[in-house]
């Protein structure tokens, strides 16, 4: 398998505080890779740096042969990388359909866009039912679906998901995770950031454990799920 994303020695500072201390990891095409860790470990910082919302202070991000650290955030999506941000961040004052269309902002192929929209409605029937409703009036789970649908509208090869289960009821959590698996089966590579480590490890191929800005552990997701130290630190056992 070949790497779709190769991150080397990535470091980020917030003022004098080093949030990422030179982390390296890679994501292969077709994988689900989980990035787990406690609050403040640098998970969201990592995803924001990949998407260009935060500038890297050192290191490199190679995505499908493109060096992303020098590219502004609004161009990164055109390379086929989309993010479902933490807290969903749907456009509350816009309708569901308008939100989805924003996801396809960089696309100009109207017919193909309609086709993508149809597949998204098929995957999330609730979004079609509520397409003319303002996104701010949706429930948390529905907003999460909208945020995922919106990211998929750009037809990405790699999707970055930041805490998709945060604040959702257990039923929605299971639904969201099974959707992530489905999306992956359809050929989209997934980099998943989660505090719900157990769930994340159960669907991932591989995982990295982030601790205060450094990668503390990496390996096969199933093995990490059975790792004594991981179970103690992240699975609450």
């Amino acid at each position: 398998m070949s790497s779709i994303l190769e991150v080397k020695d990535l470091s980020v500072y917030y003022g004098v505080i080093q949030a990422l201390k030179g982390i390296s990891f890679h994501v292969d095409k077709g994988e689900i890779v989980a990035l787990i860790g406690a609050n403040g470990a640098g998970k969201t910082t990592t995803l924001h740096t990949l998407s260009g919302l935060i500038n890297a202070d050192g290191g490199s991000i190679n995505y499908k042969g493109h060096e992303l650290t020098k590219i502004p955030s609004h161009q990164i999506v055109t390379f086929g990388m989309a993010q479902v941000p933490e807290g969903r961040r749907v456009f509350a004052e816009m309708t569901v359909l308008q939100n989805l269309k924003m996801g396809a902002y960089t696309r100009n192929d109207k017919a193909e866009m309609e086709a993508t929209l149809a597949t998204i409605y098929k995957r999330f029937p609730r979004l079609e039912e509520r397409k003319n409703q303002l996104a701010g009036t949706l429930s948390g789970g529905e907003q999460q679906m909208l945020a995922m649908g919106r990211a998929l509208m750009s037809h990405p090869d790699l999707i970055l998901m930041d805490e998709p289960s945060m604040g959702l009821s257990p039923i929605f959590v299971n639904e969201i995770f099974s959707i992530i698996e489905d999306v992956n089966k359809d050929g989209v590579t997934v980099l998943l950031v989660e505090q719900n480590a157990k769930k994340a490890l159960s669907i991932a191929n591989r995982a990295y454990v982030l601790e205060t800005g450094s990668i503390a552990k990496e390996g096969d997701a199933k093995e990490l799920l059975n790792d004594e130290a991981i179970r103690k630190a992240y699975l609450g056992e």
Partner: protein, 294 residues
């Protein structure tokens, strides 16, 4: 009959406030800053029309077009040079104070070029207007044109925002710049576009304002700028229909209180209404409720 005349005049003045307030409110909505130099863009527009018309022996159409273009350039340049570098500054006051600085800069440049004496502005509307009921109700051409122009602008803006990709990008960036960037929206360019539209509207408002009240000085834009700011806050800052309603309310109240109460007190009444509305509904008439996000 005279009440109707005053009401229509109020509607006309309100339309001018509304056009200015649209620029205020759109810029606030996306850049989260109050562009206190916005009123002075009006004055710049008026002087451009004044000079071009004088050079072309009275052709105001060319003057208006040149004013719209140059005000657009001025707005975008101001944003790029003065406001953009301060975006994300530690204190939001930095950009606010800069805007006040730009305001003084423009006023003093005008003072330098044109002097302090008041220039008499020739109305860009040559139409006399219409009279009804045997001449008892007379409506001036500029009054009618002003109201029509503001209606056209409002409809055009609503169409632009709801039907075009750029307009939708503007809405998205107003709500969440980070999420908008993740969609592939160039947020800086979208903000520049908003400044362009707001400044072009200021030029249009200037042409109408100086046609209705034909005296031009470097401070011509200052008071209407503040009134339009009040209108935007009254209607709910960030809301386009709110700016329209706020402007109309303000114009009508101003003219009616000038007529029936006292011309000295009219500004006090206008600002008094602002205080009352903000006490009762702090977000303004159409202000957005801040949504609880769970």
């Amino acid at each position: 009959m005279s009440f109707l005349t005053y009401l229509i005049n109020g509607l006309s003045l309100g339309s001018i406030y509304a056009i200015i307030a649209l620029g205020y409110t759109m810029v606030y909505g996306i850049a989260k800053m109050l562009n206190f130099a916005h009123g002075d863009f009006i004055m710049v527009g008026c002087y451009i029309i004044f000079s071009v018309s004088a050079a072309l022996s009275g052709n105001s159409v060319v003057g208006i077009i040149v004013a719209i273009i140059l005000c657009t350039v001025l707005g975008v340049t101001t944003e790029f040079v003065a406001y953009r570098p301060l975006r994300g500054a530690a204190s939001p006051l930095a950009v606010l104070i800069t805007a006040i600085g730009v305001s003084y800069l423009l006023e003093n440049i005008a003072l330098l070029i044109y002097g302090a004496d008041i220039k008499s502005f020739t109305s860009v509307v040559t139409w006399e207007g219409v009279s009804f009921a045997g001449g008892e109700l007379k409506i001036q051409g500029v009054t009618i044109i002003t109201i029509l122009v503001s209606v056209v602008i409002l409809i055009a803006l609503q169409l632009f925002i709801n039907k075009t990709k750029q307009g939708q990008a503007m809405l998205a960036a107003s709500e969440d710049k980070g999420a908008a960037a993740l969609m592939g929206i160039n947020v800086n360019r979208t903000i520049a576009l908003t400044f362009a539209i707001g400044s072009a509207l200021a030029a249009v408002a200037g042409a109408l304002l100086c046609s209705a009240y034909p005296s031009l000085s470097p401070y011509t834009g200052a008071m209407p700028g503040i009134k339009a700011f009040v209108a935007a806050v009254l209607g709910g800052i960030g809301s386009i229909p709110g700016a329209m309603i706020g402007g109309l309310v303000l114009g009508i109240v101003e003219i009616l209180s000038k007529t029936y109460i006292s011309s000295q007190l009219s500004d006090a009444i206008v600002f008094g209404i602002l205080v009352v509305v903000l006490l009762v509904k702090p977000t303004g008439i159409l202000g957005k409720q801040i949504q609880e996000k769970v």
